[in-house]
Amino acid sequence: MELLAYGAFFLTIALTYAVISLGLNVQWGQTGLFNVGVAGFVGVGAYTSAVLTTPFDAARIGGFDLPILVGWGGAMLVAGTVAFAVGFLTLRMRSDYLAITTFGIAVALQLVFQNWETLTGGTFGMAFIPRPFAGLQSQPIVFNLANLGVTAAVVLAVYLLLEHLQRSPWGRTLRAVREDDVAARALGKSPTRIRLQAFALGGAIMGLAGAVQTHFIGFVAPGNFLPMMTFQVWAMLIVGGSGNNRGAILGAVLVWAIWALSGAAIAEVFPADQQARAASLQIVIIGVMLCLILLWRPQGILPERRPQSHRPKKEPAE
């Protein structure tokens, strides 16, 4: 029974990562935009939702006590807007400027989380964030399973939305821009505009993931959004298969499992006083894995599928 409760808890966290990974897949897998500040966008979503839904607190701005769903919506809106602003600034320039700027925005956002105490609660963060099905907390198994259901529903909804978009004319234009900028422009498409849309959409999904995760855990603190999170999500998408939405979900569950197992193994092997330092080996494992995949199987476990046109073959291509 305890195992079932832990399994549900593990999967819920893994699935919140799957949502982030799906968001990154829109930016990187579909569009080829390298975002090194994933944790920052997730954090913006988490904090936005926390400010909107927590009960009133005289020491802080916010505390609007709004429903959780409003928090989720607000998280998407604000994270999407931040992504739009970053994209607007950098998408016209060479591709690695986006990498550097997103790295910078994550550093800057981390400072805001830590230092703007009247909004974010500073280093200690915010507690009393409403949890879905809070009434069931006395029964951990039911509570965890109900939350797993909610998170799985979010993953499914995002997945279906992205699959639909991928097959739509918009998704085709996106891939056209990724594959051949000049040809897409010759067909009258604006690469910068469509990249910007994709980057903002990906950011909004990451914000949603942050909100979902924060409401499940019940508190938010700057330490949850360190560069390590960015790095884990990248490993998830690359391992699973960038460009493939199912790969993004599979990679999230798989890498999160490797993370949890390697953590447990280190706790088993190293004596108590060495564990803080040995925990850094977990990151080494993921880092080496990321590099090996890039070298040997860059397409990941589930490679990108080329969607086939549903029209009969005789018809000329568009």
Partner: protein
């Protein structure tokens, strides 16, 4: 305004500038934003620390401070060893990772991603080997001496500024005057064409790593000498390094140095005006301003 901020800024700027030179060279010649560069600084600092410990164990006399500095002869000797090891680390990483991706014709952004993964792994490995506890090259305390205009500096700080000036001037002469420097500029301009003209592109790439990693080691040791040595020191310097390289103009050595000084001074003044907790945001704000107003940087030409 406290004039002491100028001293602090120039010193921090020297470290950032030296680190940014290596970054800007690899950026223009190997054509990718190398996220492991910050970790070269940290590894260089720790390599040097280990050699200092090793030498100190063998010959006690080497550790005795050379007046008026806080460090003994062991430190400069160890830096040379640290530079060699950092260079070997960079060349090894290029051999097993970046070089293979280049040979496969991987996109730039894939190489950037690989450098991001390698940087996480290198930093955590450092934390595993040396633990997260801060280390110091010397426990000696130094008194800051007045140097005029109401400013004070320790002999170590003045030494760092002087050494930076010598290194930058020497490197600038080498790149602008020597055959190797010409070859480097040719490869930065157009690697394929440079190859056709008989330039050994592989050799130029190795020279670039040698210069970049050696300077990274010196910058890391300086940061360690003036502040402290931590596994995350390179990561914390990464954003200032990128901001300095872009502000100066990618590929420009004087630009990277000037960019480093501007960032160091801005940080020092920001600490006085808005507070130390926002220091790390200064580089980001400068980076955004440069991208908005002059994306090619101070000395850069327009990038595509």
């Amino acid at each position: 305004m406290n004039p002491q901020a100028i001293v602090e800024g120039v010193i921090a700027g020297s470290t950032i500038g030296l680190g940014a030179i290596g970054l800007t060279l690899t950026y223009s010649i190997l054509r990718f934003a190398n996220f492991t560069h910050g970790d070269f600084l940290a590894w260089g600092a720790y390599f040097t620390l280990s050699i200092v410990g090793f030498l100190g164990g063998m010959l006690a006399g080497l550790g005795a401070p050379l007046k008026p500095f806080s460090f003994g002869l062991a430190l400069p000797l160890s830096v040379l060893g640290g530079m060699v090891l950092t260079v070997l680390l960079a060349l090894a990483l290029d051999r097993v990772l970046f070089g293979r991706l280049r040979a496969r014709g991987a996109e730039t952004i894939i190489i950037v991603m690989a450098s991001f993964g390698a940087s996480m792994a290198l930093r955590s490995l450092l934390e595993f080997i040396y633990t997260a506890r801060p280390e110091y090259y010397t426990k000696a305390l130094q008194i800051a001496q007045p140097i005029g205009f109401g400013m004070r500096a320790t002999p170590d700080q003045l030494f760092v500024i002087g050494l930076t000036a010598v290194l930058v001037a020497g490197l600038h002469l080498m790149v602008t005057r020597s055959a190797t420097g010409r070859a480097m500029r040719a490869v930065a301009e157009n690697p394929a064409l440079a190859g056709i003209y008989g330039i050994d592109v592989g050799q130029v790439i190795r020279v670039t790593w040698v210069i970049g990693a050696a300077l990274a080691c010196v910058a890391g040791v300086m940061a360690g000498l003036l502040v402290q040595i931590r596994p995350y020191m390179g990561f914390d310097l990464l954003l200032p390094l990128f901001a300095a390289a872009i502000l100066g103009g990618i590929g420009s050595i004087p630009g990277a140095m000037l960019g480093g000084l501007i960032i160091g001074l801005s940080e020092a003044f920001a600490v006085q005006i808005i507070g130390a907790e926002w220091r790390a945001a200064v580089s980001f704000i400068i980076l955004v301003l440069v991208l908005l107003l002059r994306p090619q940087g101070i000395f850069g030409r327009k990038v595509e």
